[in-house]
């Protein structure tokens, strides 16, 4: 029999006992719905976790240091590397080269220095750092009161909450309650403060008018001068970030736009050492942070940076174990979800066996007028398949709705607890497709026995039966 004839006959037969077949189909759809709801929850949770991890910047960041910098993170790995003295300098051209590597989103230098800020005529000495503008979309500043920098070159600062408390004279005493960030931000945001800093100005040897003795080494031929400056900055926000967190650029109490900071040529703690090595006019960095497209590409990027002769550091294994955890979780959710489908498949077997009893005579007639065993088998398979496809489609819709409702309920609860809403549930297209396919496969498997039984039916017996 041709496929469309088969499908047509199958649908016709299913319509003949609408109630029973609808109930069976609903059974399948409940099974599929539970499977879809379970798996989409697993996928949603996994996405939520990975999204958080990715946004945290911990898992897609490679920290690059020069081998010349002997205060390194992981010294053991360096045993076989280049001799520090022969390794390249981590300067602006190297940073640009790293940024050109495949899978690298950006590479920004770690600029930090201790300097003094004056607020309402009182000086405060603290650590300042440059924050790349890409942090605007990063969850590092999720808890910010006020706003992020308006531009990469804006003369604006974001204060870390303990520094903000210090400015207001509200330093937390042990055992007392912490002042909420919002309360700290209110009197500060919009106000101005002044930063004092030392600009390092490289002076080429030719214009060395001070008459200092020329060095023996050609490398040390550059000299520099230092100029004091003041810069007025507007406070735009206060964050609740921990100044001791893993995130390099925010490990400071006062944060400025990175580009702005770069343009100021502030004398850095490493600057003194650099003067002894006295390289070129281009800035030299102690650390460059490299953001990678996704955590999976970390190893690749690390390898290529190592080839350039730098030291690298990343937290890689953590994402691996997170992924393994979610694979196991998905597996368990899938098994629980499949239980309902297994029950539904028994329903299919029952319905089709009933259909054989009911349609004994019809099968006999079809055989008498020339239907082969295979024709009859195919017809029952088609009926099981149609029920599976309908049940699958219905089930996906139902599962989607259940997921939506769970998501909505969770978010209502989260909001009532003053927490940000989360997408804890996600139905990807592949899940829609494979859930329907799975329902059809399960239905066809359930149809195996009834179909075989119908095919073996003796037409003489069947026709005698009234």
């Amino acid at each position: 029999m041709k496929a469309y004839d088969l499908a047509e006959l199958a649908v016709r037969n299913l319509r003949e006992s609408v109630l029973r077949n609808s109930l069976t189909t609903v059974g399948i759809s409940v099974g599929v719905a539970s499977l879809v709801a379970m798996l989409s929850l697993g996928i949603g949770l996994q996405q939520m976790a990975t999204r958080r991890l990715v946004r945290s910047g911990l898992f897609d960041t490679v920290v690059v240091t020069s081998r010349r910098d002997l205060r390194n993170f992981n010294r053991n790995d360096d045993a076989g590397g280049l001799d520090p003295a022969q390794s390249p300098v981590l300067d602006e051209p190297s940073r640009q080269k790293i940024e050109q590597l495949p899978n690298v989103v950006e590479a920004y230098p770690d600029l930090r220095f201790i300097t003094s800020f004056t607020f309402e005529d009182k000086p405060h000495l603290t650590m300042a750092a440059g924050v790349p503008f890409s942090y605007k979309t990063n969850d590092a500043f999720e808890g910010i009161q006020g706003s992020f920098f308006s531009s990469d070159m804006a003369s604006e600062v974001i204060l870390q909450k303990t520094f903000a408390a210090e400015l207001l004279g509200k330093t937390q005493k042990p055992g007392t309650e912490e002042t909420p960030v919002a309360e700290l931000a209110k009197p500060l945001v919009g106000k101005e403060m002044t930063m004092r800093y030392q600009e390092k100005i490289d002076v080429p040897p030719a214009s060395d008018v001070n008459g200092s003795a020329p060095s023996e080494s050609a490398e040390a031929a550059t000299t520099y001068s230092i100029q004091s400056h003041e810069l007025k900055l507007r406070i735009v926000g206060v964050t609740d970030l921990d100044p001791d967190s893993m995130r390099g650029p925010v490990r400071a109490r006062i944060l400025l736009p990175l580009k702005l900071l770069q343009s100021l040529h502030v004398m850095q703690p490493t600057g003194m050492r650099d003067t002894t090595q006295a390289t070129s006019k281009t800035p030299t960095y102690s650390t460059v942070s490299v953001r990678v497209k996704n955590p999976g590409k970390i190893q690749l990027v690390e390898d290529s940076i190592k080839k350039m002769g730098f030291n690298t550091f990343s937290i890689l294994d953590a994402t691996r174990s997170v992924r393994r955890f979610f694979t196991v979780l998905d597996l368990f959710l899938g098994i629980f979800g499949s239980l309902a489908l297994a029950v539904a498949s028994i329903g299919i077997v029952n319905t089709l066996v009933m259909a054989i009893l009911e349609r004994r005579r019809e099968i006999g007639i079809m055989k008498a007028i020339g239907a082969s065993d295979i024709d009859v088998k195919k017809l029952f398979f088609a009926e099981a398949g149609v029920m599976g496809a309908l049940g699958g489609a219905l089930g996906v819709a139902l599962g989607w709705t259940i997921g939506r409702v769970i998501n909505l309920g969770t978010n209502v609860y989260l909001r009532s607890q003053d927490l940000a809403p989360e997408q804890i549930w996600f139905v990807p297209w592949w899940l829609v497709g494979s859930a329907i396919a799975f329902a059809i496969v399960v239905s066809l498997l359930s149809g195996l026995y009834p179909a075989a039984r119908a095919a073996r039916l003796d037409p003489v017996q069947a026709l005698r039966y009234e």
Partner: protein, 250 residues
Amino acid sequence: MTTVSPLTSKVAIRTENVCRHYAMGESLIRAVDGISISIPSAEFVALLGTSGSGKSSLLNLIAGLDRPTSGAVLVEGNNLAALSREALARHRLRTVGMVFQSFNLIPSMTVIENVELPLRFAEVDRSQRDSLAREALERVGLSRRLDHRPSELSGGEQQRTALARALINRPKLLLADEPTGNLDSHTGTEIMNLIREFNESLGMTVVMVTHERALAEQYAQRLIFLADGKLVDDQPNVVAAGAPSQGGRA
């Protein structure tokens, strides 16, 4: 055993000592017990006997609905006992057309769908099926109510539908099991006339099972009597009132 007319010398059906035994509990039922007959092409044969004589069982063996316990059934040269289940289904589809006492139409299908059902099994294109079915229905005198279900038709109309279905694949054999058993005598006559017409104009070999001797004598060219699964008499129909002259049988 039979006198074969020289005009119809080609053998359509031949059984050789065919047996069909059933085990029913402890006892063995010999539904067909060693029957050997030969039916030439285009002959109209009536199988007569009382209920349980084995006439329907013999018909089922010829139809390929059942397999003999022993012996051979040769239809159009094929030994049905040796055919696979698939090949036997093909035999039922292509070589034989069947009509039954209880019509055996599929209740959920309309008249035209019932008639074209064998074409579906024969994988005939949808476009051709409709015209073939209408043609067959016209031949049995049914041109209205084609979209009705069998339950909405009279017995005569149902049997016409069944006849059209039996003809649709242009088989060589028409096997009829008590075709008028559920019809009044007037309608029965109409159906019998149609069967005779197929026998004459299309040259179909007809084997009809009946317990009504009068009916058999009126239409068949040859009468085969069975009792307890055995052949008891096989004779040309000498009465054959309506039968046309065929090789001096009358």
